[in-house]
Symmetry: C2
Subunit: 308 residues, 2 copies
Amino acid sequence: MINQLVEKIKQTGAPIVAGLDPMLDYIPEQVQEKAFEEFGETLEGAAEAVWQFNKEIVDKIWDLIPAVKPQIAMYEQFGLPGLAAFKKTVDYCKEKGLIVIGDIKRGDIGSTSAAYAAGHIGRVQVGSKSYTPFDEDFITVNPYLGSDGVNPFLKVCREEKKGIFILVKTSNPSSGEFQDRLIDGRPLYELVGERVAAWGEEAMGDTYSYVGAVVGATYPEMGKTLRKIMPKAFILVPGYGAQGGKGKDLVPFFHEDGLGAIVNSSRGIIAAYRQEKYADFGAEQFGEASRAAVLDMVQDIRGALENR
Amino acid sequence: MINQLVEKIKQTGAPIVAGLDPMLDYIPEQVQEKAFEEFGETLEGAAEAVWQFNKEIVDKIWDLIPAVKPQIAMYEQFGLPGLAAFKKTVDYCKEKGLIVIGDIKRGDIGSTSAAYAAGHIGRVQVGSKSYTPFDEDFITVNPYLGSDGVNPFLKVCREEKKGIFILVKTSNPSSGEFQDRLIDGRPLYELVGERVAAWGEEAMGDTYSYVGAVVGATYPEMGKTLRKIMPKAFILVPGYGAQGGKGKDLVPFFHEDGLGAIVNSSRGIIAAYRQEKYADFGAEQFGEASRAAVLDMVQDIRGALENR
């Protein structure tokens, strides 16, 4: 799957992933109203609004980008109907040829991580049959429990040719509270980065490993160091746009050939219609506004990479 | 909810939580076969087997213990039907008067943690209505992202009088890989413990905080230190039994009055019928075997606390 991701980035020229993290708040009133007419102001109604919103955006941007990243929390908050909308979104995006990164940030002791790995990127056995329940292409993984919490994911990556992105340095303001603390003179995120590189050796694709890393756009200097520590890890970079990251901040995350990283934007794409810049589209044309935002983002990042 | 947990531990005399982490493998054949007859060898069939297995065990042990801890991964691995069985299990245990600790180990950047908090221990707004989707009493939380990933959970704890247990030192063999690394001469888990104590001050119950900690039974010396660092944090202690922890190892996690910790056993209780010790019950009487295992565990822990 990492080979396919690299291939699709080359095809589209867009090292970009659209974060499908729909808060109800982002969803235009007409979409919410229609869903509530059918299902009432219920969890089912919220899930339907989320799904219709996603579908419209995906229909307008699928040809421009290689991948989407649905954040499962935004679905899980609406309980079982919300998780059904997550699954529907994953399936629909895959039908459209998009690579799906499930942003699930799971991680636990070995047997439990094995269950998450089976449910999200692997197979689960039921009697004589086997199933692929959520069937994302990549997922994000939390490393706090160490190797035996990560190994079950590695095993499934090798078996299924799927991938993971391990949290190394997250984009949020307080990520430094633990991640930046010095151990033998070096920050924790560097040690995690070294482990990511080592884990990655056990699950290599053609050029990059099935094991990638999450490093926030908001910390470009750290991105530069981590790029060196994990040369074969693809870096998933959140924090562009709404969280403050800009095109030029992203350069250190990429290799010289313009590969090696993929930048996520969520709100900046899916709620573009609410920005002054795209206000002319209006709430009715929210999908078109998202398309314009993706095109602008491609230009911003390509420009920055060309002028590095 | 922390006050209720303390109260129920006093009532039952059992600082014990039963981990409802049903691998299919643990479920006796007659239960699986019956579920497969009705739903086929499908995810629905697996979910039904899990639910029937849980129900039988809960029916046999609910009066002995204060709480249960379903591990969501074991349900999530069976996709949407699995998660429906999780929800059914949570609801049923609450009907039985049990406190439910959702072992979900979530944690993300602020807005995303807020969505997890809403979905699992809080409320989500849909138009003019509000819902409590999963409605656990406590959940487990991963601290790797720092304060702004934890604060949304604290907020919901205060609003809803619910609780969280934050991962401090996990029970697995490689937990030391990052958690034990020295920062200014002290291991990371101690720094996390200090933060847990500080976060806890912001959400206090009567004697204990709504903010507890997870510390593995497999590390009693560290438990002793952490007990002192976080005097008002209830400690959820996994790793008893199958993972290697014994009654006498648990003493350091408790205060002198025998309160302050709650010990989890999963396999040791739910798959008791497969142990030589309880083999006489046979697979047909698996619920009775679980009951016997709980009674033995209560005796082991009480004995250890009385002889401290």
